[in-house]
């Protein structure tokens, strides 16, 4: 037993030494920069390039014009509502419509506050490459797909044509839509956006036919020439949440246009920080976002540097946000 103890003590000693050294020097380290009344702002960056662009441009202005310290969290879309409710994250600058969460946290608990639009308009739809549209002009609308579905055949779609589904986290109703429109297509999910992009860009490079769920603003839309296949127009009472089930015919309409919104933590919104005023005003366009997202995701530029470049080139817009 005694041998055991000494061995343990031998292990403990350097730990003590470490701890002592740490305590001795801990005091010296932290001297916070900036100051003013802004303090720390925590923004949430989500897993698409547009969100990164929003976050880092706002971050740059907050740090350089308002002297805030900015933390960036990367919490995924749904749990981030709870994070805002708890005050762990201050703001989400682009939300693509999470109805259930908004009901729960914004309307009922009032722990999260909707703070208006971010200026970006989200479009979701069915896309094909431009070369395909030139070859088959009838694909301008969904009706033209009828009878031609098999050109989209793939190993996993069997005798049907493949419809390449979007990232599971995005709003979609394509399975029901295909059924409602009576198309001979098989909904094939390839999972996360990176996987979906891999699939269609590869087919694009080979100039093969592909029909897929896609959206705008998206930086890849500048690199690849894509066209939308028109879906039936929206009608009153047409549905978008396919998990509700019911008659597929009720879903037979195009996706709505998404006016993307900003959400703040209640705590942050009522904190009186100058950052709140700025972030409320902060707003830009699809083109602006695509420029920055393209630098980040297309050219793999450091997000901070991409934001800096855009801000320096767009001083007028920045001034308007700060007014």
């Amino acid at each position: 037993m005694s041998k055991y103890l000494t061995r343990r003590r031998r292990l403990l000693l350097p730990l003590f030494a470490l701890a002592l050294a740490a305590i001795a020097f801990a005091g010296v380290s932290s001297a916070t920069a900036g100051g003013k009344s802004c303090g720390t702002v925590t923004l949430n960056e989500q897993a698409w390039a547009g969100s990164t662009a929003n976050t880092y441009v706002a971050k740059y202005v907050l740090e350089h014009n308002l002297g805030c310290k900015v933390n960036v969290t990367q919490i995924t879309e749904v749990p981030v509502y709870q994070a805002m409710a708890d005050g762990k994250t201050d703001a989400v600058l682009e939300d693509w419509g999470h109805v259930t969460q908004q009901k729960q946290y914004v309307a009922k608990q009032k722990t999260v506050v909707a703070e208006g639009v971010n200026g970006v308009i989200g479009v979701i739809g069915w896309y094909i490459p431009d070369y395909l549209m030139k070859q088959y002009p009838q694909f301008k609308t969904w009706r033209g797909l009828k009878g031609k579905e098999t050109i989209f055949k793939s190993p996993e779609s069997g005798s049907q044509g493949m419809f390449l589904g979007g990232d599971p986290s995005y709003q979609q109703k394509d399975r029901t839509l295909i059924k409602a429109l009576g198309l001979n297509l098989k909904f094939v999910s390839v999972g996360a956006e990176a996987a979906q992009v891999a699939r269609w860009t590869q087919l694009y490079k080979q100039h093969k036919p592909v029909l897929f769920y896609w959206y705008d603003p998206q930086y890849l839309n500048a690199q690849y020439k894509l066209d939308q296949v028109k879906l039936p127009p929206r009608f009153p009472g047409c549905q978008d949440d396919e998990s509700k089930g019911g008659n597929p015919k009720k879903y037979a309409c195009a996706y709505p246009t998404y006016i993307l919104q900003k959400f703040f933590s209640k705590k942050f919104a009522t904190s009186g920080s100058p950052a709140v005023k700025f972030l409320k005003k902060w707003k830009w366009s699809n083109t602006d976002q695509n420029v920055v997202a393209g630098m980040i995701a297309g050219q793999h530029m450091d997000p901070d540097k991409a934001a800096e470049k855009w801000v320096k080139a767009n001083q007028a817009k920045v001034k308007a946000w700060l007014r």
Partner: protein, 659 residues
């Protein structure tokens, strides 16, 4: 899954049966019958909606809403205060480790790591640590690495603190082991995606929630392997100790734990690797996401950076593993002949280490070294560029490589996976249910057959029949491939030191490199949705099976082997008739863990296009549909139990036959 619940009758004795009663032949006939039924009624008789209970997701959603209401109400219950305290405490633990590293400055952290490793692990260990630090610095990921290290260190310490005592209890009590096994299965199989949201409601986001999520996954492995180790201590040794009048406590401390040392170290090693494999998912709810965050977010914005971060995770895993292993070896009781003089020298060394660390930190401060290393210069950009070049090559569909892999992928799907998937989902559901139950009966006996029937019934009743069968077809393929790969390799590794040394780093990389990272190239190379998921499952499950199989074979008592040798057994005989039968417990644990690991990747598969249950779970978290996600997870768990019963029965039947 009650590993080693019965230790009696280990004789590998097959009762003589008439050829037409061969259970494999009969199972084959059952399958043939199912195929005929599929041909006759393709896609007929899906699971009847009258037998489906559709309101479960709704109830689950209501439960989550209720939980969220409670948490967000003006005066939340005291439970939330306690949970909040736990979460804050865990978070503080993680932050304390991270801020210790920051306070030491990067120079001090480097020196402390290397010197402590040198003192307790020797030169090799310190070189591993130094190499790891140098690569984080060169990759420009110092701070992310510190964050991840803090999270993993905290999770591993807590997992071992919880898991080892429970494992010891489970090693000594059959009843306890049997009671917790299903819980452990559930913890490992139910995908983290399914319970991330309730965890966040209860514990909020941040390092505390990340630690809990990681622990749910890494505690079971600590418990399992510890129990296996304690159980593996030869019964006659324990009896001898009892005969000498040892108390239960003495038997544990002086006999069982020291003799189980090797497997206990494996438990530590595997806990570290499991904790690191959760880094990416934990980043989804962490406020200091570290390397895991770079992986998840980088996938869309900068895949090269995501891959680099993935390799940083691997480097961290290997260096922690190697240096802790060296430390453990140094403290091996077999090597501890500590004389007075040697003890004094060790004290001096310890003192010198502490002084050296203190001095380095002091010098670092006087030179104004930062908390983290930032001046990596062009190195990170250069590395990312190289990775991007490789990716560009892989992404280019005009290379010869692509023409080979896409051909393989397409044919694999067209003639293998897709027909199998169609068979599983298209066979009339009563035929499928009956057939699988019958096979379970033939291979394993009536009890597992009842469980299989019940589990498949659950999948149907909760409305996941079609998704469940879709996933089952892929899981079966992945499992067969895993076993075909892992068994021979495991045996080879056990038999050859050189093979073991060569293959170990490969296993470490496969086990710790986040699947999302190595899936990127596979997505491009095999542009068919099901293949990458299966590849991921095999690559993830095989290392664990290889390790368990080889550990089991190596742990066969040397005197037994010698006895067999002295009777003139050839190497093949030794392997087939002595080692493999005696290693059966470990091998069965290998099969069990193989099933669990394959199922653990089902969700990752969902993210890269495997569809089925994995897609439902991923979709559930990301679209905020809690209910459907949990229901799909239950189906994954049921599938896992059913598969386990079918495969385990073989052994049980043999035991029964030998009685």
């Amino acid at each position: 899954m009650a590993v080693a619940a019965e230790r009696v009758g280990r004789v590998a004795y097959q009762p003589v049966r008439a050829w037409w009663r061969n259970r494999y032949l009969l199972s084959g006939l059952v399958i043939a019958g199912m195929v005929i039924a599929y041909q006759v009624w393709p896609n007929g008789y899906p699971w009847p909606s009258a037998l489906t209970w559709n309101s479960l997701p709704g109830y689950l959603d209501n439960f989550q809403t209720w939980l969220s209401d409670q948490q967000g109400s003006a005066d939340p219950s005291v439970i939330f205060t306690i949970l909040n305290g736990i979460s804050t405490g865990l978070g503080d633990f993680v932050s304390a480790i991270a801020s210790l590293c920051h306070d030491l400055t990067w120079v001090g952290t480097f020196a402390a790591g290397v010197l402590v490793a040198l003192r307790f692990g020797g030169v090799r260990a310190s070189l591993w640590v130094a190499g790891a630090f140098a690569s984080f610095a060169a990759m420009g990921l110092w701070d992310e690495a510190v964050q991840t290290f803090a999270l993993v260190a905290a999770s591993v310490i807590l997992s071992l603190a919880v898991g080892m005592p429970l494992g010891i209890v489970a090693g000594r009590s059959d009843r306890f082991l049997r009671a917790i096994t299903p819980v452990l299965d559930a913890m490992q199989i139910i995908p983290a995606f399914a319970y991330l949201m309730p965890v966040v409601i209860l514990l909020s986001v941040g390092p505390g929630a990340a630690v809990v999520t990681t622990m749910i996954y890494s505690v079971p492995v600590a418990i399992r392997i510890t129990a296996l180790g304690i159980r593996g201590v030869p019964g006659n040794t324990v009896e001898a100790a009892q005969a000498l009048g040892s108390t239960r406590r003495q038997i544990l401390v002086k006999v069982q734990i020291p003799l189980a040392r090797k497997l206990l170290l494996l438990a530590v090693n595997q806990t570290i690797l499991f904790a690191l494999s959760m880094v990416v998912i934990a980043a989804l709810i962490n406020t200091d996401p570290g390397l895991g965050g770079l992986v998840t977010n980088g996938l869309n914005t900068n895949p090269a950076l995501a891959i680099l971060a993935g390799f940083a995770i691997v480097i961290m895993a290997i260096s922690i593993d190697r240096s802790t292993e060296a430390m453990a070896e140094r403290t091996d009781p077999a090597r501890a002949h500590v004389t007075e003089a040697k003890r004094r020298r060790l004290w001096l060394e310890t003192g010198a280490t502490a002084v050296a660390i203190g001095l380095t930190v002091g010098i670092a401060y006087s030179l104004g070294a930062g908390a983290v290393f930032v001046n990596a210069g062009n190195a990170p950009a250069w590395m990312q560029e190289k990775i991007q070049d490789a990716l560009n090559y892989v992404e280019d569909p005009s290379t010869w490589l692509f023409s080979v892999t896409s051909w393989i992928g397409n044919h694999l799907v067209e003639y293998g996976l897709q027909p199998l998937l169609n068979f599983f989902t298209g066979t009339p559901s009563p035929v499928m249910l009956g057939g699988l139950t019958l096979i379970a009966f033939l291979l394993s006996g009536w009890r597992p057959a009842v469980t299989t029937f019940a589990m498949l019934g659950v999948i149907g009743v909760i409305g996941e029949w079609s998704n469940g069968m879709n996933t089952a077809s892929q899981v079966v393929v992945a499992l067969v491939l895993t076993m075909l790969l892992a068994f021979p390799l495991g045996i080879w590794v056990a038999e050859s030191k050189r093979a073991s040394a060569a293959i170990r780093p490969v296993l470490d990389v496969l086990q710790t490199l986040p699947q999302l990272v190595y899936l990127i190239p596979f997505i491009y190379l095999f542009p068919v949705s099901i293949v990458p998921g299966i590849v991921a499952a095999v690559l993830y499950a095989a290392p664990v099976v290889i390790r368990l199989v080889s550990a089991g074979i190596r742990d066969v008592p040397a005197n037994t082997v010698e006895a067999a040798e002295s009777f003139g057994a050839t190497r093949a005989q030794l392997l087939l008739k002595v080692k493999i039968p005696l290693a059966q417990d470990a091998i069965m644990l290998g099969v069990n863990q193989g099933i669990i690991m394959v199922l653990a990747v089902v969700v990752i598969g969902g993210l890269v296009g495997s569809g089925g249950l994995g897609y439902e779970v991923a979709y559930g978290l990301q679209q905020g549909k809690f209910g459907p996600g949990v229901v799909a997870s239950i189906a994954i768990l049921a599938l896992g139990i059913a598969l386990d019963r079918v495969t385990r029965g073989n052994r049980q039947a043999r035991l029964e036959g030998s009685r």
